[in-house]
Symmetry: C2
Subunit: 138 residues, 2 copies
Amino acid sequence: MTYSAPPPEKIKALCNTIRFDQNGLISAIAQAPNGDILMLAWMNEDAVAETLATGKVCYWSRSRQKLWRKGETSGQQQKLIEARLDCDRDAILLIVEQTGVACHTGRRSCFYHRVTPDGLEDTTSPEVSPEVLYGAKT
Amino acid sequence: MTYSAPPPEKIKALCNTIRFDQNGLISAIAQAPNGDILMLAWMNEDAVAETLATGKVCYWSRSRQKLWRKGETSGQQQKLIEARLDCDRDAILLIVEQTGVACHTGRRSCFYHRVTPDGLEDTTSPEVSPEVLYGAKT
């Protein structure tokens, strides 16, 4: 399945129906086509509009307070396949084709701390080192 | 797969590692075993602790400002199969066995507003009416 972008005026109208929180953000879940949850991040209106217009996923970085074009530094981009808002329009689900890994630790998914009777246990190991993803600090 | 609860002291230790936001909350994604995303909601520390101790999913209702034992009114409970925290421990993924439907509109999933070139389109219809779920208003 391929994503087809709505025209700008439809994107604007759609953004106007979204219930952004007091910080102007909504939660965004990225999911692979096989159902795996890759990550949870945040979007402001500009991030939603850019993502829907370009088909390349752009979040809002709360720590850096700027648009976060996923993969801009690491190369690990997310190509949009489908986007869905939830019932009360304060969360968005992005079905994406993930280049490489989603997690900054080098794992495919950020959700790797599994609860077990003994506490937390990692379900996966990094597929690539963060140094390779972001450049070795010298 | 069956969920096995950690003992109380392990749950307490685990909760101490979670990075709750300024409102004391984390995002919680509920996913069916087949990969379908059912809903996104919020949990405070008490909700996480109760969910992990009992294996029955309990959220925090931001609108009602109280613990929200999913299904308490509607009967549409969520039985925990697996719980996973994300890399920076500010989001939790719950794999659940959903009784009936997750969405208050009577749909199985809350994420039914799909983005199309023509704007939003509903992907599913209600399986049960909200009046049946919550009792008819007279």
